[in-house]
């Protein structure tokens, strides 16, 4: 909307600040920063299990923080867009693919106990061995599957 924030902001600015966010949340609240746990709360709530509300507040914060970035610097996926995948697939196929892929992401994150933030960022920063194994596994898998998709689509993805 305002076009004052050049995206991407340089990594050497954002990376350390992201690290401070992870350490700061731990230092102030004793909470392990992670996103997938917030979605787990939705399932727990629907089954009448106790809910960790702080996770939902954190998730709501990420939505607002990203909205601020979009206002200051725009977002190429606003509306119906989805980058190169959105151009490659028709809208119904895109929705089906994102839902099915999302199921895999949720299933895997629940099984492994955390995702790219809980294991990847925070788990590695607490020197958690299980997190390190999870991160190495999902990184290698994701690169391999991405290269496979690249080959299968004749280089279009």
């Amino acid at each position: 909307m305002f076009d004052v924030l050049p995206i991407p902001v340089p990594w050497y600015v954002v990376g350390p600040l992201m690290g401070l966010t992870v350490a700061g949340l731990y230092a102030v609240t004793n909470k392990h920063l992670g996103i997938s746990g917030a979605y787990v709360q939705v399932v727990d709530f629907s089954r009448g299990r106790p809910v960790e509300t702080w996770r939902l507040w954190f998730l709501a914060g990420t939505v607002l923080g990203a909205a601020a970035v979009a206002m200051l610097g725009g977002h190429p996926q606003a509306g119906w867009g989805y980058g190169a995948l959105g151009e490659y697939l028709s809208l119904p196929a895109l929705v089906a693919t994102l839902f099915a892929g999302g199921v895999l992401v949720g299933f895997g994150a629940r099984w492994a106990g955390a995702c790219t933030s809980g294991h990847g960022l925070t788990g590695c920063a607490t020197r958690s061995r299980g997190s390190l194994v999870a991160v190495m596994t999902f990184m290698v898998t994701a690169v391999a599957v991405t290269l496979l998709l690249h080959a299968l689509t004749g280089g279009e993805l």
């Binding site: 992201m18 401070l20 966010t21 990420t62 977002h75 995948l85 099915a100 099984w111 590695c124 991405t146």
Partner: protein, 150 residues
């Protein structure tokens, strides 16, 4: 709203802002990273870990007392098969969608309707995993605190 909720909301806002400011909420950015065509996202992750790790190490050593959550206890998990199996499935979904759970909430926040589809899929996946875990009477993936190492 409690003080803890407000503080977590603020940290979430900071995290979401930073996340989106490097384009982690964009398919093209994540996809180029996973194609190994752009290493910038790795530098973001690496420098974030490199910043958080020594701070948390020092706070733990100093037996830091957090203002809102008692004594600092860093969560750690010992290596288990679930980290590999879950990692393989998670990594596959991540490659297909270019989205991790953080991408989903932040692309939605930035105005993408596909964020809703991603979140619906992820919640369904979590519910499915829980259903499987209950049928197999396998322990669910609850975080188990490991004793702090000195």
């Amino acid at each position: 709203m409690t003080r803890l909720s407000a503080v977590c909301g603020l940290f979430g806002a900071a995290f979401g802002f930073l996340f989106a400011s490097v384009g982690f909420n964009q398919y093209d950015v994540i996809h180029r990273m996973l194609l190994l065509k752009d290493i910038t996202p790795f530098l973001v992750m690496g420098s974030a870990m490199g910043t958080a790790l020594p701070i948390l190490w020092l706070l733990e050593r100093r037996r830091w007392r957090t203002p809102l959550g008692g004594n600092l206890t860093l969560r750690r998990w010992s290596v288990e098969p679930k980290h590999v199996w879950g990692g393989v499935i998670f990594g596959s979904g991540w490659a297909i969608t270019g989205a991790c759970p953080g991408t989903a909430s932040t692309t939605l926040g930035a105005g993408s309707l596909m964020g809703l589809v991603l979140i619906a899929g992820m919640v369904a996946g979590i519910a499915l995993r829980d259903a499987f875990a209950e049928r197999q009477v396998v322990p669910t993936s609850e975080p188990l605190a490991e004793p702090a190492r000195s």
